[in-house]
Symmetry: D2
Subunit: 415 residues, 4 copies
């Protein structure tokens, strides 16, 4: 057992720290100004384009994708990527997208990389890896518990050489962005099949007739319009060639699971970065703000917040890193329990840390002069993304109950 | 001891329930549309004007102001007003303002009613009670702990027959509204005086030269632009006649304390109304939403949320009502400890209930199709308004430590 | 609505305060000594006998029993009894038993008072009211979820003019005391009947052949041997006359419910008294203990503990009092939801307050020089007595989900 | 970074698991019987002696002591010892003492090993390592905040060739055991010295005239009489030769800090073992106990308990292991912040897990048929041992506030 990061991880973390200091933090107020000046635009703003050039030059492009892939990606392991991903979370609106590591593109690229045909990869993966287009992932539906994939109401019907997609999705992150040329859509091909064989995944170009982006949704009062928002999207008999199916009919659930695993881990890493940014801000505030004649840092309650927040981050980071290590050594599937655990544990803890940070900043913590309220909203949303916490807790609890069960007892326990 | 509300309270609660059902709830989507159509407007929207007419007709106008005041107010006691105020919190953006009971106007009216000269009351109180103008309260400053009034940097200097106001305020709620004709400003007249005699309160017309509304602030992305937002306001040698001082120099702290007491209680009452609205929504969602083959209401974790939320509301409501009863029977000053207790206890609990409600609604709880995220933001802000929770907790803890102290011990304990 | 106690309640609370100061607190160290000297005795110690004489003289005897009953009881309402019961909880090992208001005797007396035949009342109720015997209540079984009364394994079979009781009970509080002459036993008479008609309640004299007290049980190392402990009791064909049945066959569940209601409320009242005792102790400790040059009461974290504990007690006491008022005005059955709510809410909160108190006392809080650890154990046990919290939470949550349901929706929701 | 344990750690963990299954668990009921039969004995019971022989034979003796020491110890690193120590916590009354790794002996042996003179080591360390005597550590005093070592009232005065010890200690764990031949006592030699140079550490044989063991103390209702209890000890001019001083005058604080570091880590490891034992018990109970027709493991609330408990243990274990790794690689002093963090984080979390386990077991969880209540008491006590949580939290919070401070800011922040 060894808790020291290896040289590759350390080097990339150093690169990332420099990138934040040199490029990303200075770009934050610029983004705010650009958004204020173009309130109706959903595309990336100019400052992001400049940052993307910087990231490419510094070797911080597409690092999310493990292995060699001939496009500037560095072939990091998940464990090596972890510190980079965490650091990118310190500026969640800018750094991930600048590095072409932002959801939902990163997940879609993984999906195409792992499951796409050569033709699919050439048409969609190449421009995504190059950053010349963006994409959206359309899974969640308004009328179905998103945790219960078996019930997806969107239909994908075979009709000759085409598939016809019909249904209503929402929370399609990024889809308000007109540059999101690709919609990856999950829907039901065979409602009579076994629960986890009903769904398929299909690639729908944004300009397909019948695709209609209905409206933006917001998270608290944020519509995330600086890079694509969250859309309600209707598919009214949207017809695409059969070649657009990813893998075969019925493979949708398995593909989604494969796609969500790394995505969840990346979310957790970035959430820890948000928490660390909050810790820095809290520390500075606590040292500099005086109330009743003493700096806040001299007050016992503030010290408790700092202490508990610190050890919570340290413990959860180790759990995230161990999960990454498991993914690298035994595979994503064998690491499923750990992935599920951090998926729940991290966002909840980070939300609480951000709540404390906002409290320490007083009214200043509510407004967008500080990044805290926006990061709180992001952490809060993570407790619902990919299924609410409760579904994962129940599943983890069942796994724990089975851990020491006799075979007979285990049979009696549904997952 | 008797826990039954009296006839006056019951009657007004019934009136209020009808008003909500008949007028307010149907107006909620209308307000959303009107705001969407006029995104740059900070005044009240037309639908609010119609609601205000309804409220006047139904005898639900100015009920916040205790005693007889010849303007349609009904002379309710604080205890009788409590159920009305709570019910108004069920639609926090519409009902309080429709009834002319919204902060900061209500607090400013109380202030003028209690401390204003006849001339001040004629010029400002009368149109406020009539609803023909609105107002703002300018106390919080960016560079001073808002809980530490002794440090206010805004100066109010006497110069002949004028006072000259200089300083920077923020979180001046309502001040973005061009109809907020009156700014009630707290500042320092004598920095050498005893801590609580340094401040004075002065009436500054919005159109006074030197008054500059700098920018809006937001709460979790919400700018509350439907009725006046939260402004940063600069006073650059704004000159007003000496007659605009409220009471005498040095009376500012005492006036502020008197103003804040009822305001805090009203905030708590309305916060309970938000929680009750969330309970209704949660109940409906839990009954109607099915996941994994069972309604959410059949799931143990959801039942726990409902149970804990319910008894928490019941217990805290009783504490709020007892506080109101104390204000009516022994006076606001004697009820100070209880006011402080509910000021902290209620918003924190309501925030947690709203967090659960959002979780139950899934992604739908984050967007503004439901009122939950906006109510969460409002409850969260209450934990900072009028001084952060921690200041009040420390003060309450000191009071508790003194409760059973000998006189010598009590002397040794600073408040 | 009126939050002032009436004259009767105030008078009895004053009597009770004097009794505590004059008699009970001074008796606490005496009891400790007497127990240390007679470690193998399970009966009441001499000092308790003296206290019982004092309580009788002061008119503090049998106050738990509402209405007139010609035995020194004063006919208090539940609401009037509340402050007395709370105060008795400040010395939980001594005061309730001194006043003949301790569980399980009080519940057994209520049961006999309400459901007993004249003969049963003469033989058992009279000496219990007089304090010349004690009793135990035998409901909980080792192998059955105590919340699930339908499954009780103890059988009560009719055999001619007798009932024959067979089964194993545990947590029969008081039964180690040889003076507990009466065991009130719940068992199954008809396992085929409807769920809540299977059980009956029967009076079993301790000296009945076949009754065997097996062993004492302990709560966190405490065996409560000063007044009867908690016993495992085996009934091996224990035969009693048919006249010993309380009411009819199948009435056991209803009787148990009727018995448990007031008992739960009394437990809550006393638990608040434990919390208040802890508050006094915490206040004194915080004022007098110095660490790092300042009294603990000057430290922010301690102040937060005191503040949160204080308002929690205040809010929950009001909920308990309102429940008592409902019991007096609409009846125990109509108050069932409120009884269930306080049954869960109060012990959990009191446990947390006691945990803080122990922390404030450091190691001294763990030992029995202070009453904190023993009170903690008692509060902890209350979270399990009469069914674990979770059963009540689930039931309350279902009730809340039904609150706003349409009739159709309500039908679909099992309680 | 590598999360796999090395071969030495794995081998010892395997040995330890076998030892638990083969020897320790079967001995638990034996110990209970032996204690019941000899209630007044404070020495180790016969069954423990047999276990000690087993442990020696299996190579599980004195493993707590790092490095080579020629007495059967294996020279494990702290990181290698961690799994062994954790496993020993699964049977906290038996396993650590059986392996001669129990507090306070282990800490006293470390102290003698690191700071003792050859003569001191020969006289005391050798028999302690051999297990032929036991020892106690006398630091805590009734009248002084135990976290504030500068205030120790016990005096150690030089008088010719002797030191004379005078003072009152309590919570001297193990000192009720007549076989505890050595008392390691901390007291003040020079009250005028700098805060951390006032104290010295001295070896006082139990049979020294003037040493009086006054009485046992209890934790909740447990007096831990099976292996030495917790004593109040008075030193009335107890005179020992000057050679009994450990190191020099004024070195006491530094020695205590050095002694406490590993002790705290070992406590955390064992606490995790208690939690794991509780997890196994909870799993079995949840699978086997049926309420309302379903096993508890099928109920959502129980699953949440299992899930949260599981990931909390996993995350905290990693933090403990990283701390152990730091101790091995950069030294105990450099790992001080991490040691302090786990010292607070682990016992609090384990207490909560044990509370859940007790709740799952119902009344059975309160009694000593299950180990839960006793483990709860032990975990609760850890939140106070070596200074209450709050002192460590404040210190950690100050460290965090300094983490990103400029030098000037850091100077302004007292630790």
């Amino acid at each position: 057992m060894d808790f020291a990061p290896d040289a590759t991880a350390s080097k990339h973390a150093d690169l990332m720290r420099d990138f934040l200091e040199d490029c990303v933090y200075p770009a934050e107020p610029v983004l705010r100004r650009e958004v204020a000046q173009t309130p109706d635009v959903w595309s990336l703003r100019p400052v992001v384009g400049l940052l993307r050039d910087d990231a490419r030059e510094r070797g911080l492009w597409n690092l999310f994708l493990p292995g060699e892939h001939g496009d500037g990606g560095r072939g990091l392991t998940t464990l090596q990527y972890a510190p980079v991903a965490e650091l990118s979370g310190r500026s969640p609106q800018l750094a991930p997208v600048a590095m072409n590591c932002a959801a939902p593109d990163s997940g879609n690229m993984e999906l195409l990389h792992e499951f796409g045909t050569p033709a699919q990869r050439e048409r969609w993966l190449a421009p995504l890896l190059a950053g010349s287009i963006r994409s959206a992932f359309c899974m969640t539906e308004p009328d179905v518990a998103s945790s219960d994939a078996a019930g997806l109401a969107t239909r994908i019907r075979r009709d000759g050489d085409s598939y016809v997609v019909t249904g209503r999705k929402w929370w399609s992150t990024g889809a308000m962005n007109p540059d999101a040329a690709l919609l990856v859509v999950m829907g039901t091909t065979d409602p009579q099949a076994a629960r986890h064989r009903r769904q398929s995944m299909i690639l729908v170009p944004r300009d397909t007739p019948g695709v209609r982006v209905v409206r933006p949704l917001s998270v608290f009062g944020y519509d995330d319009r600086d890079h694509g928002g969250h859309a309600e999207v209707v598919f009214e008999d949207a017809r695409v060639p059969v070649e657009n199916l990813v893998r075969g009919e019925g493979d949708g659930f398995a593909i989604a699971q494969a796609r969500l695993g790394p995505g969840r881990v990346h979310h957790c890493m970035r959430a820890l970065g948000m928490a660390e940014r909050a810790m820095d801000l809290m520390g500075a505030r606590a040292r500099q703000r005086v109330a009743f004649g003493r700096p806040l840092a001299a007050q016992g309650v503030v010290r408790e917040w700092l202490a508990e927040s610190r050890w919570t981050i340290e413990a959860l980071r180790l759990l995230v890193l161990k999960t990454a290590w498991l993914m690298d050594t035994v595979g994503n599937r064998a690491a499923m329990t750990e992935i599920q655990a951090i998926k729940v544990a991290v966002p909840g803890a980070v939300q609480q840390i951000l709540d404390r940070a906002m409290q320490l900043f007083g009214a200043a913590g509510l407004d967008d002069d500080e990044p805290l309220a926006a990061m709180f909203a992001a952490a809060r949303a993570l407790r619902l993304a990919d299924g609410p916490d409760e579904v994962h807790r129940a599943s983890l609890g069942a796994a724990e109950a089975r851990r020491t069960a006799t075979p007979d007892e285990a049979d009696a326990l549904a997952p």
